[in-house]
Every structure is written in C-alpha cells, then in structure tokens.
Amino acid sequence: MTTTSPRPLAPSGTPSGLPSRTKAIDTEAWIMRILLTLGALWLLVGVVLPLIPMIGRSFHDTSGQWVGLGNYVQYLTTPSLVQSFLNSFGVAIATTLLSVGLGFVYAYGLTRTAMPGKLLFRTLGLLPLYIPPLANAIGLIFLFGNQGLVTKGLFGLLPGIDINLYGFNGIVLGEFLYCFPQAVIIMITALNLTDARLYEAATVLGASPVKTFFTVTLPSVKYGLISAIFVCFILAFTDFGVPKVVGGNFNVLATDIYKQVIGQQNFAMGATISVFLLIPSVLAFVIDRLVQRRQTALVSAKSVPLQSKPNPLLDWAMVIFCGLVTLFAVTVFATIILASVVKVWPYDFSLSLKNYNFGTVGGGGYGAYWNSIRMALYTAIFGTAIVFTGAYLVEKGRGLQWLRSVSYFLSTIPLALPGLVLGLAYVFFFNNPIWRIPFTGMAIYNPFHGLYGTMAILVLANIIHFYTVCFLTATTALKQIDPEFEAVSAAMAVPFYKTFWRVTMPLSLPAILEIGIYFFVNAMVTISAIIFLYPANLPLAAVAIINMDDAGDTASAAAMSTLIVLTSLGVRLAYSTLTRGLRQRSAAWLNR
C-alpha cells in the first residue's frame, strides 16, 4: 500500500496555459443591476408616469382650476354621456357573446373534428387580424350602407335588405370581425392543450359524447374561455375605429373622448371619460389575472395528443358553419379591395386605379403610407429589442428579485390600457414643458418634452400599447430554455450577456420574429393610441382612412385600407418564407 505524496494543486483558476479568470470586482452583477434598473425606469416612464397627469386632469376644469369630482358629477348627470357609457357596454357584451360563441365553435371544428380544409379555414379565419378594424367598417358600408350592395339588393336583382348599419348593428358587426380572430386564437390554444387519455377514460366509463363535452372538454378550456371573454370585451369596449366609421349618432365612450378632445378641445372632460373607459378595462384585466392564477397545468409532459376521429355528420356541419363565417369575413375583405379598384361603387363597376391616386383627397396620401411603414418598422425593431431584453432580465436575471417582480407587473399593465387613454395620457405627459409636482408647489422641466410631436413618441406609444402580448410571448419562449444554461456559463466564467447573444437569442429567434411581426402589423393598423399624438407634418395611413371617410372619400379610404392590408400580409408572407429558410438551416439542431 503506497501512499501518494500530496499532489501539487494547480493554483486556483490558473491551469497551465490558461489565463487567470479572477476578476477584481463582480462587474457582471453590476451590469445586471443597472440593466434591471433601466428596464424598470423605462416601464415607469412609458406606463405609469403618463397616467398621473391624465387622472389629475380629470379633477380640474378646462382652465386648470381644481374641481374635485366635478367633472365626474357633470358626466354622470349628462344623459347623453351616460347613454354613451351604456352603449359601450351594450356593444361590448353583444360583441363578446357573438365572437366568443362563434369563435369557440370555429376553433372546436379546427381542433377537435376531422373536418376537411382545416388549413384553409384556419388561414381565412385569422385573416381579419391583418385588416384595420375601421377598414372592416368601411367594407361593411360598401355592403350594408345606404348605397350598399346588400341594401340595394345586388343591383336590384334581389329585394334589398337594410340592416340599419349605422349604429349598434354596424358597430357590433365591425367589432365582431375585429374580435373573432382573437377569440379563435385563444380557443385554438386552449382546445389544443388536452390529453387524449382523458377522453379514452370517459369513453371507457361509458360517458355519452354530450356528457364528455360538458365534463371533460368544457372544464379543460374554462380558462381559455374566460380569457377570450375578457379580451373580446376589452377590445370591443375600448375600440375607436369602428364606431367612428359606422357609429352614426350612436355614441360610445371612445368616440365621446375623441369629440371632447378634438372637437371641443375639452381635455378635462376627455380625461374624465378616459377614466370611465379605463376602469372597466382594468377590472376585466384584474379579474382575468386572478382567475388565470388559479389555473393549474392540466397537460403534463406525458400527455398524449388527441387524434380526432372522423364523424361525417359533425365534420360536414362544421364545414358549413366555418364556411359561412369565413364567407362573411372574406366578403367584407373582398369588398374593401373591390371597392378600391372600381370607378363608382355600386353604380360603375369598371376597373380603375384612380382611387389610388390620393392627390385629390385629404389624409396625406402616399406620404402617410410611407410614414406608417417607417413607424411600423421602428416599432418592430426597437419594440422587439426592448421587449425581449426586458423579458430576459425579468425571467433569467439574477438578484434584485423585487425589482424583477415589479417589472413583470408593469409589463402586464399595458394590456389593460385602452389605446385612446394611452394616447391622451401621453399628450398630457409629454406635451407639458414643465411638470408641476402635485401638492408641493414645485415644478421641474420635463426632460421628455422634446419627444412630443416627433416620430419617436409615436413609436414609443405603439411599443407600450402592444407591449404585454409581446412580453408574454417572449417570457413563454424564455421559460422553455434550460435554466441551467446561465449556471453553466457562470461556471465557465462567461458573462451572461455573451450567453444571451450566443445561445438565448438564437434559440428564441422564432419568438423574436413573431414579436417583430406583431409589432409591425399592429403599428400599421392602429389608430387609437396615435390619433391624439401624430403631428400635422407626419400624417399616417390608418388615420388617413378616418379623415378620408370623414370627408366622404370612402373609395379612397378603401384604397388606403387595401394598401395597409396588403403590406401587413406581405410582411407576414415574407416572414413565413424567411422562417422556413431559417428552420431548414437550423434543422441540424432542431431535429435529429
């Protein structure tokens, strides 16, 4: 038995030939802290601070005198304004019932039956996502308006049907087209998350299909259903574009704010109505969060995907149902395009591109179109970078746990902020060269005042407006990445930002591109957040649609809508092509 002489230990961290990896201070931890702080500051300035002057404004009159709850009292005692509040509710509830009801059946057909043409119906069902809601409204005018194709009975071939478009009916139809794809997306996701073994168990236990539906299917999609209801409610409750175009004399909160601010320059009342718009949205948001928190994973890694079995009766019923819904959406879409390329709807159907010559109408023409593209591009580039970095810091960061929790919370708030409210809040916050700090009598210069009236503030508003969905997408993608990567990197003394660049980002590329597209498409079609913010020298395409429609140039509005839709679809198509290329190149590490 020999005993080893003590083996000379290599000095810690300096094996032969390798440089030392000891560092004087833990710079990495400091970089992390600084970035986390910057991220929280960004959300503070983008989300929280702007709300303060707006809410403050609702307690002042037009001349800036403190009136306490005066504005609220005035609002609640003005019958026409109270009526708007009820109208908004009515529209939102009707839209929600219609969108979630039909959306559920549609998604059920796509996920749980063996109906033919699933891919086609899926694509067409989600088509309205790329259409600005007010473009849909313009399509509805061409179909159901005073001179509409249906109203006039298809050139007198059929008895005309007047659905009284302008007002409640028109708004609900328009909002339906806007909310339906959102409901379908949520329901498809919820219905896809299931375990075939549950259904096998139900069958073995002798449950009828109806009983299985109520005891297995519905409970498993409960949370998706609740989410869809709240999302549709908020969208329909706060949307501005559709009521603006087909609302007629039927006032809702969103159009009231616009009239108060743009029409009467009554910012105080605009702020007051904004609060009325904000409260139900925030409530819906909070309830949804509380409900979703109770959700536990029904689907484990061991779940077996459900294979739908053919059932001719159900399958063909679904085809007819989905066909009808799709027919409606596609007809509206086709009408927008058709109306933009004919001479005089519905009298002269000879083809003409004169509507695309925006020279004779207001709104800014092609200048506005290019501005919108620029804005959407900036929003996509900067928004994606900020959202992804922010989500990374919250999800994978080390230390400052409380700050990461705060950042997470702030990142989810924008979902509850209606675009109009956000836009108006930005006006109050950024337009003011001097901030008076409430109750102190002190005032400081507004360091962000220089942003007002520039492209930058439009991009900023868009990023914040669509922040939450993107943030959650990024977070989901990051959660799927092995949490030990950071530990392994630290063991090799590789700083976190290098691993972020070399590993985390490449792995999240699909999600990153998805976020970029989402930002781009939404920035192209949005109106509510930017209608109060865009400066006169920066006309925008979506706003131009409103202005053209206001001026009676409905055909030009249709032409501009078509441009926006084609651009969004083009970007989506380019994305699909690009990602297919990417998938092929990364196939080596994606598949065996």
Binding site: M1, T2, T3, T4, P6, R7, L9, A10, P11, S12, G13, P15, S16, G17, L18, P19, R21, T22, K23, D26, E28, A29, D482, E484, F485, A487, V488, S489, A490, A491, M492, A493, V494, P495, K498, R502, V503, P506, L507, S586, A588, W589, L590, N591, R592
Partner: protein, 398 residues
C-alpha cells in the same frame, strides 16, 4: 506549453476499509480515508446552513473534501444534497457558514469567480452550438489563441471518447454522448473542482452503468477533486471514494462505500443503502439480543442491556444450513418459507423465523444454490444469522 492532462495519481484510492465502523457524531467534521488525511482539504464546508423561509434545507453542515477525492452526496429527494452542491458552486447562497476552496474563502463569490466545472442531469448543452463549440465555449471567452483552443477541444473530445464527433449538434447525439460532451465542457478550463449534479439519472440503465465506470476512470486519471450528487445508492457505491449520506438536511454518515454499506451507523443509512432486514428486539446481555422467542448472539452490540433495539441484517449475509448438525452453530434458526421471488441471478425468499412469527425476514441466495435446494417446493429450512453481521441500533422513540 501544452494542455496535457493533470498528473495522474500513481495509485488509486485504497479499497481496503480502515475506517472503523463506529458512529461518527452527526454534523461533525469527519475523518477522511486514511491516504488523504495527511493533506489539507481542498474543499471545506464549514457550519453551512441554508433556510428557505421557514424551511431548513441544510443544518450546520461540516464536510472536508481532500485533493483528488471523489465524494458522493447521497440521499433521498429533499435531503438537501442538491442545495449543498449549489452552495459549493455559488449558484445558491448559504444562510450561514463558509465554503473554502483551495484554502481560499469563496463563501461570497459569485459562480463566475469560483473555480469549478459543472455537469447537470439535463446536460444543459447549448442546442444551437456543435459539440466542439460547446466545449470551446469557455475557452473562447478566456481569449485563448484559436489554435490552442482547437487542440484542447479535440483532446477533450478524445478523452471522453467522442473523437471525430465534434461537428455534431446535441440533438444528433445520444443521451450518453451528450453527457460526455457536457463532461468535456466542464473540464475544458481545467477547473480545480468538478461538480456533478445527478449526471447519470436521465440515461438508460445500460448507458448509465458504462458511463459511470468511464467517469470514475477519467476522474482517477485526472485526479480532479469531484463532488457528485446522486440518489442512486448503487451509483454512489460504485463510483465514490467516500459517500456522504444525507437525510433531512443533515449528514447522516460519511465513509467509504464499504464502511457505509457494512457498518451503517443508523437504521436510516442501513435501510437507504442496500436492502436490510430489521427485527425489533431487546438487549438481554452485552452480546445477546432477544427477538421474540429467539436469542441471538450479537457481538457488535453496544447498547446496554434492557433497552429496546432494532437489529439489522442484510438478506445476502444470511447463511442457509443444508444439513443441520447435532451441535447447532450460533444463531441457528428454523424458518418457514412464505414466498419466493425470482430475481434472475438469484432468489429472494420471504421467511418467518421459528419463535418470532410476527416479523418476516428476507433472504437472498444465488440461483444455483436455490435450484440445488429445490426452491420451488421448499416449505422450510434452517438458516444462520451470522453473529458478526448483525448490527444493533437503539430503538428510536416514535
């Protein structure tokens, strides 16, 4: 200057057990295998405590790991072994106590400033980087010249038996191959300490057994101080120089595989490592224990007479007596066969001892032996409970 492997130790650690089977006081610094005690410990865990809110994950842990030693932290899930490993690496901060590595206090250093390589159960290989790129990951950050990196990486891949596979991505490699890449990556910076967090648990049984031999061999060749976490006692017995058995946040026993197997100091360790029969009894005299109506000679007993005890005896340590002679051997008992289970290489018989019918006991014999005995129709047999194989533990008050 080359990247040659660190000098291999001339001899492998002694496998003759010289550590006495006496109980080491719990939560005390423990004696190491003899051939290393002359050296200063490379890693010292001093009074480490970790709490998560009210939950105490680790209670006042002391542990010394000597240079070149392979130590296994073994215990059931939730015993704190992974927490201890994460504290050694700096991925988790201890609530109290110190961690010393190479004589330096590293208690409050972040992982990036400590000196270790780590392998996780999930491999944690970067899926978008090839095996070569994975192994080179840390070297590139150290600004090592490219040519040197290439040499070093191919050396490392050869070392783990993956020469020529460097261009493959993790998804193109089998689980065992991925874990080899992870091992090469952990060793790339020639760390002073190798940490293995259940490195074999995700692998198929056969791969696991092959890879555990290879890891042990590699560790011995490199002489790198290694701490491995595992819940698999067979793995710990096969690989470790010393095993640290943990339970509920404290160290239950530390010792060589042989000593913790043969001389467990508590029923917990006895039961956790290997299979163990337990019989309740009472100490009659210094070396005699009564179980039911049987009097057993137990020379290892240290419990004073009159106290309730648990005696422990491994199934494979019992002897079958084919032809009982007139003068019975010590602890000779007649037993009735309750059931039999074929284990492949052997049989397990479930027995009750004559005079102590209420406590069944298991016995293992080789398949050969079992066939010779006509095991299928066997109703009763005579066995011996070898006196020196019997452990006696004071009965814990419930």
């Amino acid at each position: 200057m080359t990247f040659s492997e660190q000098p291999a130790i001339a001899n492998t650690p002694s496998d003759t057990d010289t550590v006495p089977g006496v109980a080491t006081p719990l939560t005390q610094a423990v004696t190491a295998a003899v051939d290393r005690t002359t050296q200063a410990p490379y890693l010292r865990i001093e009074n480490v405590r970790k709490t998560f809110g009210k939950f105490v994950a680790l209670k006042d842990i002391y542990l010394d790991v000597y240079p070149g030693e392979f130590v296994c932290l073994l215990g059931p899930s939730g015993c704190g072994k992974t927490t201890l490993l994460r504290i050694i690496s700096g991925l988790e901060q201890q609530t109290q106590g110190r961690v010393l590595q190479g004589g330096k206090d590293v208690s409050h250093l972040p992982p990036s400033m400590r000196d270790f390589g780590i392998v996780f159960q999930s491999y944690a290989l970067f899926p978008n980087l090839s095996a070569t790129q994975n192994v080179a990951y840390g070297l590139q950050n150290q600004k090592v010249p490219k040519a040197q990196i290439e040499t070093r990486v191919s050396e490392l891949l050869d070392m783990v038996g993956l020469g020529g596979m460097g261009h493959k991505y993790p998804a193109q490699l089998s689980g065992g191959q991925q874990q080899r890449v992870a091992l090469a990556r952990a060793l790339a910076l020639s760390p002073g300490l190798l940490l293995l967090d259940e490195p074999l648990s995700a692998l198929d049984a056969q791969v696991r057994i092959r890879l555990r031999a290879e890891i042990t061999d590699l560790q011995r060749r490199l002489g790198i101080t290694t701490v491995m976490v595992t819940h698999d006692q067979a793995e710990a017995l096969a690989m470790a120089d010393r095993i640290v058995v943990m339970d509920k946040g404290y160290i239950a026993q530390v010792g060589t595989p042989h000593s913790v197997y043969q001389h467990p100091t508590s029923p917990f360790v006895a039961n956790f490592i290997g299979v163990m029969n337990f019989l309740d009894g009472v100490v009659e005299a210094d070396d005699t224990v009564r179980c039911g109506n049987i009097l057993l000679t137990a020379p290892n007993n240290t419990v004073p007479p009159g106290q309730a005890v648990v005696i422990a005896l491994r199934p494979e340590d019992m002897r079958v007596i084919d032809t009982p002679s007139a003068t019975p051997v010590p602890n000779q008992v007649k037993a009735e066969v309750l059931g039999r289970e074929f284990l492949g290489a052997g049989y397990r018989l479930d027995l009750t001892l004559e005079g102590n019918a209420r406590q069944p006991i298991a016995l293992e014999i080789s398949a050969n032996r079992a066939r010779a005995m006509g095991v299928d129709s066997l109703a009763g047999l005579t066995i011996q409970l070898p006196p020196d194989m019997i452990r006696v533990f004071p009965k814990e008050n419930p």
